[in-house]
Symmetry: C2
């Protein structure tokens, strides 16, 4: 049989296991021009929360009682397509199913000899590209500048901070527990890391870690953490807005201090993006990331959950900050 | 005698005449290397409100019991400097005094034969440059796009809208009375203008005026008007933040809906600026504005108050929206 995870109920506020439902279907038989894929690794990402709402956004919402989709690495187990053969591994936006057919559209072959398979969902996949392109195309960090990243121990944050260091910045990370603080300053060589949950005065902590002010703020979280960073931005600061995980589960429109006065006073630029905005730069960005990874100048960190049934829980754990680096579910071999 | 207007008390919230004090001094005698200047036209501008606070910003605050400064056109009445002679007219950041000396630093000679003197404070001065450079460098409007401008009947707004039309945009202005609505659509050829004070549902009015969404929002006001425009921005919208007059007199940090989610969903760019950020482009921008003005493709509109003693009241009138176009005080001949 073939397990499939559906969107069962739309969440109000924080999602829970009740929003998902696992059903069993028959394993499909690929037709002419189709592949049969077996899921190996599933990416769970904060942005999926937005697709669970019935709201217009940059991608359509998930439909009720239809499978959730996300980035998946799968193995080709049967092929009626010239370009793919049994035993190939592919990456693409696929359904949360153990087995599924595909026409091959939107799939990219990935090579398990060049890098471990899970890294194609992380540092060599969407999160690595998001970190690299958001930072370089919008943040435009210059040597000697100060870069602050929130959600610093997450999939994107860990890569942003490391690239900031490679580009000669002073890097300060904001994260939610002391173990992650240690990870950021040791494994990832951040200059400072701040635990926002235990720091009594976040503004003061940022001021103390960034005596020269903040030139680039790579924002993964939004909300009060970002307010505290904005209090210390320099003239001409650049603020890539990559995510707003602290706001995704709000049921009312979240309110906060208006930003126009500070952007005006500091001639600062705040720009939202999704990685598809930079699609033309994926090949060169992937080459750069792979080169740094092979040279050992970039560390990839993953939190791997095990088992198809645990995909929803792994997704929910993102909102509790339980992951270090990229959260991935290992489903098969 | 020589009247001078000082900052007497810092305003809390909305400023009033009590914040200013007029004193009389002797007319100074220029020394070697100095000019004696007689004030002719005084520019009053919303941004001066920020300098009345004792707060760090992009320019230092005015000092208590010292003269206010703003853009001024003055006549050289005595000169001990080679580059200036009696009868020349100059433009510069000068004190609210009938007469003052200057070393010539920061002064620009202006030619009353090329354009009327007051226009060097408006369409050929700081406000024209602000409109042109904010729009073209940040807004980057493309032919056929929709441009919305708030504070549309003000000094900057009237120029932004006209340039938008010259560049082939559909232009919608937001303003505060019906007379201004008419001015914008007749004299300045805006496609639509909205009176935000009488429109029962500003969001709906913007939606109706901008059926293809908003590509560029030139923001002079901030606050709830901007919230309504932001509800209709398109993917990749550009939002130059030029002013926030609706927030300048707030005594508490103004609160509003957080912007990160909408900037993220729309891959939109919000950027604050002051005109000094683009100083290297002043010569080419001034040439373009003067050319359009001479060709009759750009209309300059001014509200002129009369008399040195009326400078503070003219400034206060800005916050009541009493001006159409640039607010200027005529002091001498």
């Amino acid at each position: 049989m073939n397990k499939t995870i559906l969107l069962h109920k739309r969440p109000q506020g924080k999602p829970s296991l009740e929003n998902f439902k696992t059903v069993s279907e028959e394993v499909p038989t690929p037709k002419e021009g189709e592949l049969l894929l077996k899921t190996v690794y599933v990416s769970v990402d904060p942005y999926l929360r937005g697709r669970m709402n019935d709201a217009k956004s940059y991608i359509p919402p998930f439909e009720l009682n239809k499978p959730i989709q996300s980035g998946i690495i799968a193995e080709v187990v049967d092929s009626h397509l010239q370009d793919f053969k049994k035993g190939d591994f592919v990456s693409g936006m696929l359904a949360w199913k153990e087995f599924q057919t595909s026409t091959g559209k939107g799939l990219t072959k990935v090579d398990p000899k060049l890098a471990k398979l899970s890294s194609y969902l992380g540092i060599l996949g969407m999160t690595g590209l998001t970190a690299y392109l958001g930072l370089t195309e919008i943040g435009k960090p210059k040597e000697g500048e100060t870069l602050v990243v929130s959600g610093a121990a997450g999939a994107v944050g860990t890569v942003v901070g490391q690239i900031g260091k490679l580009l000669g910045c002073k890097v300060v990370g904001i994260t939610g527990n002391d173990e992650k603080v240690k990870l950021l300053t040791s494994t990832f060589h951040f200059d400072h890391a701040i635990n926002y949950k235990t720091t009594p005065d976040l503004k003061a902590a940022i001021k103390s870690s960034c005596p020269d002010g903040v030139d680039v703020y790579f924002d993964n979280v939004g909300g009060e953490i970002s307010d505290a960073v904005l209090a210390h931005i320099n003239k001409f600061a650049r603020l890539p807005v990559c995510g707003a995980i602290s706001l995704y589960n709000e049921t009312e429109v979240p309110m906060g201090p208006r930003l126009q006065p500070i952007l005006l006073t500091k001639s600062a630029t705040m720009r939202g993006f999704i990685i598809g905005d930079f699609a033309s730069k994926f090949p060169s960005a992937t080459r750069q990331l792979a080169a740094w990874l092979n040279e050992g100048r970039l560390q990839s960190r993953e939190t791997i959950a095990e088992g198809f049934d645990n995909i929803p829980q792994a997704f929910l754990d993102l909102f509790e900050g339980k992951n270090k680096g990229k959260m991935i579910v290992k489903v098969g071999e």
